[in-house]
């Protein structure tokens, strides 16, 4: 029998297994389900941006909040009357702000995992060969831009606050309305998702090396870390709540949902 040594070329070879994977479980389910859910979200969001029924007092659809355009936003829909975009802006108001929450989710560490697997198949699942011939990951343009995640996090804090204000306005205007409670639930999950973000965890105290010198920040880090452990779940739940709340408000605004406590 031939002896292999460290210098032998054969020794430098991996096992020449032809199959892309030898996994026998349903590894394809995660990328497939991810693809379907995210595609549904993208299709809905595209429709929602161009749909004009985003406000029915006191409900404001989350995908169009805050409403910043004078031409398309009713007085009541403006955040404290603030609408810096004059009559010249006639495009859907959602276009002005949707980039911020979309950017937050697009650069989110959970979503990156999910769409790298579900859309880019890099890799489709663990120990399943990816189809790409070359791979540089996030080490160069354009994916190196994923490092701007924390700026979107700052914006997401503001958006989360605005959605909370919308929920409070709905509570004041119609405390017994089903829509009010849908908006409240949505605001809670959006804010939990935002606070559970890895960038938030880093900013609170993750960047420190001496926790003992910063006891308050350390406690905050502990709290965010607990939320962070549920980041994936919160990302998905908040995606469904924001889509559900948005659709609900639009259906009420269109008169399709019109029962008394709607």
């Amino acid at each position: 029998m031939t002896q292999t040594t460290a210098e032998n070329t054969a020794r430098r070879q991996r096992a020449q297994i032809k199959e892309r994977t030898l996994r026998t479980d349903q590894w394809w389910r995660y990328p497939l389900v991810t693809f379907i859910i995210f595609m549904a979200f993208l299709i809905y969001a595209t429709w929602a941006i161009f749909d004009k029924s985003f406000f029915v007092s006191p409900y404001h659809a989350p995908f169009a909040s805050p409403c910043l355009a004078q031409a398309t936003c009713p007085e009541e829909a403006r955040l404290f009357g603030f609408a810096p975009f004059g009559d010249w802006y006639t495009l859907p108001p959602g276009l002005l702000i949707l980039g911020l929450p979309a950017g937050f989710r697009f650069t989110c560490y959970y979503y990156r995992k999910a769409y790298y697997r579900g859309f880019w198949l890099s890799p489709p699942a663990c120990a399943v060969g990816e189809p790409h011939r070359r791979y540089t990951g996030e080490s160069r343009f354009p994916l190196i831009l994923q490092n701007i995640h924390r700026y979107f996090f700052y914006a997401a804090i503001v958006i989360g606050l605005i959605l909370a204000i919308d929920a409070v306005k709905a509570l004041i205007g119609k405390p017994d309305g089903l829509g009010t409670w849908i908006l409240i639930i949505n605001a809670v999950f959006i804010n939990l998702y935002t606070l559970s973000c890895h960038s938030c965890r880093h900013i609170t105290a993750g960047r420190l090396n001496h926790f003992s010198r910063h006891p308050v920040r350390y406690r905050a880090w502990g709290f965010v870390s607990k939320l962070n452990a549920k980041h994936q779940e919160l990302a998905l739940i908040s995606m469904f709540t924001v889509m559900g709340a948005d659709l609900y408000v639009r259906l009420v605004a269109k008169g399709i949902i019109n029962f008394p406590f709607a």
Binding site: M1, T4, R11, A15, R23, R117, E138, N209, S212
Partner: protein
């Protein structure tokens, strides 16, 4: 209770080889490594397998069982159906020496490339004072048994041999994170992580975490925090400005 199980085991030296079929006895409470040993004892005396503790603590018996990186000694036969054919292959990302034994020297090479713990020059051994909460994060990473399954499963090198020189793999990026989070380490780990050890290659698909037999949250607690620290250093002008204005340095935090 015992039954006859169907096994397909990779046999060969170097890269060349084939899956060989075996029918072998399985008894209650056994693990895959027991079955490999039974094959050695009864049917294939020259079957090579690396093993040592049989307790999931030495990290020697890393292999791929039904395509998934697992420790042979920690994979119970009771998790498989009796009529299931169980395929056992060597780790794919590393060269094969013989049968299930791979040459994992890539990992030792990468370990050597990381500068060791570097305390401040004015603190002498014996003078280190730190609280438990300051070192807790790093201690999670010390659970690593160096089975190298995280590096094996990471698609950056598993699917792209050409990335090996540029990428240290999750195990050693975790080592860099461990040192960077240490209260008394003053070496510059952030630029090195990005420039020399390929942190940017990681696209956080979490396979390293999925296969870790010690359940270390490699991605969430080491790789992502390290990525965020690199963002502080290289991509966040606000942090840079704050450090300049308040004359902060990493070691003081």
């Amino acid at each position: 209770m015992s039954y006859k199980a169907k096994f397909r085991v990779w046999r060969g030296e170097g890269g060349e080889g084939r899956l060989e079929d075996f029918t072998v006895e399985v008894n209650d409470g056994e693990v895959v490594l027991d079955i490999i040993h039974r094959l050695q004892a009864t049917q294939a005396p020259d079957l090579a397998v690396r093993w040592n503790c049989k307790a999931g603590k030495c990290g020697s018996c890393s292999m791929e069982i039904n395509g998934k990186p697992r420790l042979g000694c920690m994979t119970r036969m009771s998790t498989f159906a009796e009529d299931e054919t169980i395929t056992v292959t060597p780790m794919r990302a590393f060269p094969v020496i013989k049968d299930l034994v791979t040459d994992v020297s890539f990992n030792y090479q990468k370990a050597r490339e990381i500068p060791s713990f570097t305390p401040p020059s004015d603190v002498k051994p014996g003078e280190y004072r730190m609280q438990q909460i300051d070192v807790e994060r790093s201690q999670e990473f010390r659970k690593c048994i160096e089975c190298f399954m995280c590096n094996n499963v990471c698609h950056v090198i598993r699917d792209h041999e050409e990335n090996k020189p540029a990428f240290a793999g999750p195990r050693f990026l975790m080592r860099i994170a461990e040192l960077d989070m240490h209260p008394y380490d003053v070496a510059d780990r952030k630029d090195a992580a990005q420039e020399e050890h390929g942190l940017g290659y990681c696209n956080i698909t979490k396979c390293c975490t999925e296969v870790c037999p010690e359940h270390i949250k490699i991605t969430d607690n080491a790789l992502i925090p390290m990525k965020e620290r690199v963002v502080d250093r290289r991509y966040d002008p606000l942090v840079w400005l704050g450090n300049k204005i308040f004359r902060r340095s990493d070691a003081k935090r």
